[in-house]
Symmetry: C2
Subunit: 415 residues, 2 copies
């Protein structure tokens, strides 16, 4: 095992040498909510350049993250599946929102000035004819329309309505625009990074409290409840993702809600959170040994820590997601393990808990400054007994800057 060269709060010389800038240690001042209009103007200008390169006349947006990306409209109302929301982003000009009546007042508070709405719900014509009319008015009789259709995308409108829309728009053609939205969203602005960093700071502070929260005998569900409350108290807006596991020596199910089983000496406890501030996620976990860690668990943990270091060492503009994967995988395999069932060793992060790219052997996305990424090495000590470790960083010109406060080098023990 290599020595930890990643500092918590101070910039060590060897950390700078390794290019791993320290995590922010400023006092917890929440970044301003929302964005200046210039942020949306920049996003639009970037989108329009990419659309022109791709030969698209417009993007048709139906999903929460993309609608918010271009408009700034933030709402939990997307929980309701009843009504579709549409945004038309033309290759030239400003976006037009076509939204249900309930959405008019909040969208009118954003920078969007062309808003059309229909009385909704109205399943017999749920915005479809209004959208088609709007598209004809703005784009004319023929247009190449981009709709995200590729990996990690969905269409948030009923399939039958999408078919009806296409039927109403003879002369229009629909093309996959995944690369456009992916290119835009993968690289974060400083204002976005600040929000993610803030969320990471809140979660880092709460993880530091866990040795005082998680004690043997307590049901896991109560520990998770206490963690969630602490995250909110410290300024998180929401905790849409708080999962984990506790099992003797390691765990294999990393995505389930906590059960009533009491935490037991010998367990490895893992808590993973996607906490949100102003619509931006952190996504990292921490592991704890309940009582003295056994050798296997300690070695598994140390391997994951070393794998993370290996990825931080090579995370530079020009490296790829695949490079990060292979750096981590090599450490895991060299230490005698197989990678866990997560299927990747980290991913993008931002308005969603997980975003493109994926650190897998086949994802050759080239890393550029402004990308916010997780490193999430996992391994199986034996079948059904695994461990996963995660950190968040933003890539800078000279290397990674940690956003999560680095986990301890050795598996922390809760006594």
């Amino acid at each position: 095992m290599r020595k930890n060269t990643i500092p918590d709060h101070v910039a060590w010389t060897d950390a700078l040498h390794a290019g791993t800038l320290p995590a922010p240690s400023s006092p917890l001042i929440p970044p301003k909510r929302g964005f200046p209009v210039s942020e949306f103007q920049d996003r639009l200008a970037r989108a329009q350049r990419l659309m022109t390169e791709a030969g698209l006349d417009a993007l048709l947006i139906t999903t929460e993250a993309e609608f918010r990306y271009f408009t700034g409209f933030l709402s939990q109302f997307w929980q309701s599946p009843t009504r579709p929301w549409f945004l038309l982003v033309p290759a030239v000009g400003r976006p037009t929102a076509v939204v249900p009546g309930i959405g008019y007042p909040p969208v009118a508070e954003t920078w969007i000035d062309d808003i059309r709405s229909w009385t909704s719900p109205q399943p017999e014509d749920e915005g479809v004819s209004l959208l088609a009319e709007t598209m004809r008015e703005i784009l004319g009789g023929r247009a190449r329309v981009g709709v995200p259709m590729g990996p990690e995308t969905t269409l948030r409108m009923p399939l039958a309505d999408y078919d009806r829309l296409r039927g109403l728009l003879q002369g229009f053609s629909f093309h996959d625009a995944t690369d456009v939205v992916k290119s835009l969203r993968m690289v974060k602005s400083e204002a976005e990074i600040e929000k993610i960093a803030h969320t990471c700071r809140i979660a880092s502070d709460v993880f530091d409290l866990i040795p005082g929260i998680a004690t043997a005998g307590q049901p896991l569900i109560e520990i998770f409840r206490a963690v969630k409350i602490e995250l909110l108290k410290r300024g998180a807006d929401d905790v849409p993702y708080l999962v984990g596991a506790a099992a003797p020596g390691g765990y294999d199910n990393v995505i389930s809600p906590p059960g009533n089983r009491p935490l037991t000496a010998g367990d490895v406890l893992m808590i993973d959170t996607g906490t949100v501030y102003d619509g931006y996620f952190c996504d990292f976990d921490r592991n704890y040994s309940i009582g003295t860690a056994d050798r296997a668990a300690a070695h598994g943990y140390a391997t994951l820590f070393e794998a993370t270091n290996a990825a931080l060492d090579i995370a530079r503009p020009g490296a790829t997601s695949g490079d990060l994967f292979r750096a981590m995988q090599k450490v895991i395999v060299d230490n005698g393990y197989a990678c866990g069932n997560v299927g990747r060793l980290g991913h993008g992060l931002g308005m969603q808990l997980t975003e493109w790219p994926s650190h897998t052997n086949t994802d050759e996305t080239i890393l550029v400054p402004g990308m916010v990424l997780t490193l999430e090495p996992s391994l199986d000590m034996k079948p059904g007994q695994g461990m996963v470790h995660e950190e968040n960083f933003v890539l800078r010109e000279n290397g990674p800057q940690l956003l999560s406060r680095r986990a301890p080098e050795q598996l922390p023990e809760v006594h």
Copy 2:
């Protein structure tokens, strides 16, 4: 205004006469988590009857609520858009899950015994060929496959992968199965009702505390944070939806997160929550006048209360969603108002914050016992100054049983 005939905790004679059974007042004992296998067997049997009637050989499920409905798999991991999850529900036989590797351990803990998984993420073939092979193996060379394509549904897989799947399944045809899933999910089992009732009890208790939490001068965001923490402390698993507004004399934006504006005397404060216990939502709101209510706000509130009574009076098996709408609308219009911009006056409720049906003039869904519904009359006192009121109930043979503890008859004042 009519007198309130709806009791809080006791069964009044006139309430029974009106068929409005009292809200549960039992002590707060959380229902057992999960469901017995018999619940899933019943759901499958009902689904298979409906599929046979509709001439479908199988349902292809991709969405969280439907996957959970048939399997019991509950996870916040659906937050990650990277990986699709598939469930094949055949018209004869047991369901087969086709899930990413990370999903194998938790799905293996459900009653599903046929689980296939692929190493994911793998965007070049994200489960599509495995799903196609599985469908051919189970359904043979030709089959009529039901996919929800209608109102309130989406397909949770990339469009391009759906097209590829259809290309791989020559001989298969794909048909809208919205009516099948809608018929199933609209009518709740007693075990489901118990979970919703429990969530409603928790939220009712917390709403009772709001006069002590919401005081003039406090920023709205801090009030909402305190409410969220209180909901968690009292046993809620999550608060995915907590929205509202506070504005002088009434509000018009009912779906936005709270801002930093301090609560001010003369405001009407509305807090609306979709709180969750074991995967089941409540969805109701409460209004409060900060300081003495002005006449217009008090009259608007009383009208909404009376509109709710009008709907409770006629909520019987055999009535329709449209009947509920018209009963509420009549009271609103007779009192000199227009309905608000919500577009409907209530809806279904369960595994999602909102479900079919919608109380609109054109939704003629026939109400049957076991449906859990909201009544959500809204009105505008003047443009931009509105109010919305909401209650939750389950329909019984003899009428509605309130699940939310009824709001006070008069707009409560916080002094």
